[in-house]
């Protein structure tokens, strides 16, 4: 049994074309299934609007899923009462895309990192201060920054405060939605190193949402590619990058800008008209799955 097992996740939203119009149901997430083993890193990639954020928001129950099952250590998460959900969130922490809007502007960096410990009544004040110091060190923040307000920190420092906060309760799983896309290249690299260190040090399980394939290739052992709410391909990162099976994955990889002169592969375009939302994943190589239309077989 994997640490995380998601089966048939569906989330629909009502959307009106005009205020007086009839609402139309859109399936932002459409029968999504995946599993993540302890200590594994899964990268969820896909174009804007493909349903990545909606998927992880459902798992954390920040929004309610329409259908499906999410087993965490074998326990069904969907439908859990709020009290049990609160306890579970200790083990499932999230870091957000925009470090600026996710940190309370009136709390100090130290206070933000300590808050979860206070809420869960963990440790004495002295224990908590020691823990905050340790967390600061893990994410490469100077202990002297604990007294600073978010606006007194740089973007990269704020994102590290967000990571330290997420780690305070020693979660088993870290869910990161575009954790570096708002940061400059040199600062991105610093945060990527922090995430890699934590993986090695704590054996953290990571679910990483990112549109930057280079980042996903760097950090993830496995990849799931989403397109219009569906997972169209999944497998080990190396296999998906070197032998992409789904035409959308091929298009995505060929669009990735590569700074190595001469190594840019020729562009491959994906014809959205050929997309079949009913196609089921089939195993194309051991552990490597891609959506194949019944019609094509």
């Amino acid at each position: 049994m994997s640490l995380i097992e998601v089966t048939g996740l569906v989330k629909t939203f009502e959307r009106r074309q005009a205020p007086w119009g009839r609402p139309r149901l859109i399936r932002a997430v459409d029968r999504v299934s995946f599993a993540i083993g302890e200590g594994e890193t899964l990268g969820l990639v896909g174009e804007s609007g493909s349903g990545k954020t909606t998927t992880v928001r459902c798992l954390l129950r920040l929004i309610e899923p329409t259908a499906g099952s999410f087993l965490f250590r074998g326990e069904q998460v969907f439908g859990l009462p709020a009290s049990r959900m609160r306890a579970l969130r200790r083990d499932l922490q999230m870091i957000f895309q925009d470090p600026d809007s996710s940190l309370n502007p009136r709390m100090t960096a130290g206070g933000i990192v300590e808050e979860g410990l206070v809420i869960h009544g963990i440790g004495s004040p002295a224990d908590r201060r020691a823990r905050v110091r340790e967390l600061f060190e893990w994410v490469g923040l100077d202990a002297g920054m604990a007294g600073r307000l978010p606006h007194e920190l740089s973007g990269g420092q704020r994102q590290r405060v967000g990571i330290a906060r997420a780690l305070a309760l020693a979660p088993a799983v870290l869910v990161a939605d575009e954790p570096v896309s708002a940061l400059d290249v040199s600062i991105q690299a610093q945060v990527v190193n922090v995430l890699m260190d934590l993986q090695q040090r704590l054996g953290l399980t990571l679910l990483l949402v990112a549109h930057d394939l280079r980042l996903v290739r760097h950090l993830c052992s496995r990849i799931a590619v989403m397109y219009r709410g569906r997972i169209v391909e999944t497998g080990r990162a190396g296999a998906v990058f070197h032998a992409p099976a789904h035409p959308y994955t091929r298009a995505l990889i060929s669009a990735m800008p590569d700074p190595d002169p001469g190594s840019q592969p020729p562009r491959i375009r994906y014809d959205a008209a050929g997309f079949d939302p009913e196609a089921e994943l089939g195993e194309v190589a051991p552990g490597h799955w891609a959506a194949t239309s019944a019609a094509r077989q």
């Binding site: 174009e47 804007s48 740089s154 990269g156 420092q157 400059d184 290249v185 040199s186 600062i187 991105q188 690299a189 610093q190 990527v192 190193n193 890699m196 260190d197 549109h211 930057d212 394939l213 280079r214 980042l215 996903v216 290739r217 760097h218 950090l219 990162a237 190396g238 298009a251 995505l252 060929s254 669009a255 990735m256 800008p257 590569d258 700074p259 190595d260 002169p261 001469g262 840019q264 562009r267 375009r269 994906y270």
Partner: protein, 331 residues
């Protein structure tokens, strides 16, 4: 692609400052500090660097569109044989849009939401006296077709919100090309877009350049994009060009420690390894160190680096690096 006449655009010693005064303390931010570069006919120059390095202010300075309290304090900008910095407002207006087209980063703010995209392109043509009335509208449709917008006649009647982000960016490129300017400046034209759409827009710019022979100043923070489209690259740090040269050469053999650091920061080249991240963050432009601005973050720093600012030293033909490792009396 190049010819041996004078370059189309020749920028020398461009310096632009923002001066602010708060609680009696004067803060001078030199956003662009002695920047020089050329763009030849039909050439693509990429201006690369992290946010705040002065890329946008450089482009705005070329058009003399720096917002107050910003001010160009020195330099010269020769374009088609004239110095744009001494041109009167009227002549300058005839250069903007007509001779130098521009595409800004945020497609939504650059388009007016209450006019159709066809009308907005037609208006650009009329303002510059390139076409009027029905002829301008017909030309607008042609331009939309040129930027590969499907069903251009129908799309011309759409309002900006009816288009996807990628299509809006194409409309802006069409508007920038409306008067067939010999030079187009594009400021992070694909940063807000998905990877596949970004690649489409870059392919489009490359095709336009080939078909129309235009020159392009492309601003980007992504060295992958530089590799994809640029002939030459200028890497900026703290308001100065720290390395410039042919794009393949600079990317394969970066000579400035900052350029090396930027390349080493890119994930995905050797999966699962620690990145050789540049420590620290971009400095406050109002409080730069006296020597090399990169010194506090530089792995190769030595005594000379803190004494004075390094000049741009030649490292190979057409390739310079502003770093004491490559020259200077100090060495």
């Amino acid at each position: 692609m190049n010819d041996d006449r004078a370059p189309l655009l020749e920028v020398r010693g461009l310096t632009t400052e923002f001066v602010s005064e708060r609680t009696g303390v004067r803060r001078v931010v030199r956003a662009v500090d002695g920047v020089s570069f050329d763009i030849g006919c039909g050439e693509v120059l990429a201006l690369a660097g992290e946010s705040g390095s002065g890329k946008s202010v450089t482009a705005l300075s070329v058009l003399r569109l720096v917002p107050p309290p910003g001010r160009i304090v020195s330099g010269s900008i020769r374009f088609e044989g004239r110095d744009l910095l001494t041109l009167d407002e009227g002549d300058l207006r005839r250069v903007r849009g007509a001779r130098i087209g521009f595409v800004f980063q945020e497609p939504m703010t650059a388009l007016n939401p209450v006019f159709t995209v066809g009308d907005q392109i037609a208006e650009a043509l009329e303002v510059h006296g390139a076409a009027r009335g029905a002829a301008a509208r017909a030309r607008a449709v042609e331009l939309l077709d040129m930027v590969r917008i499907p069903e251009p006649a129908r799309r011309a009647r759409d309002f900006p919100h009816q288009l996807s982000g990628g299509m809006r960016q194409r409309v802006l490129i069409a508007a920038a090309m409306a008067c067939r300017p010999p030079l187009v400046m594009a400021d992070e034209p694909t940063t807000a877009l998905d990877a596949t759409i970004q690649a489409d827009i870059l392919d489009l710019l490359v095709a336009m350049r080939r078909e129309l022979g235009l020159s392009l100043l492309l601003i980007t923070h992504d060295l992958g994009i530089v590799a994809r489209v640029a002939d030459r690259v200028a890497v900026m740090y703290a308001g100065r060009i720290v390395e410039t040269g042919p794009a393949p050469g600079v990317l394969a053999f970066p000579r400035h420690p900052y350029t090396r650091g930027l390349l080493a920061s890119l994930p995905g080249r050797v999966p699962g390894t620690r990145l050789e991240a540049i420590p620290g963050a971009v400095p406050d432009l109002a409080a730069l160190p006296p020597g090399c601005a990169f010194a506090p973050r530089c792995p190769d720093r030595f005594d000379a680096c803190d004494g004075s600012r390094p000049d741009a030293y030649a490292v190979s033909p057409g390739h310079t690096a502003r770093c004491f490792l490559h020259g200077g009396a100090a060495r």
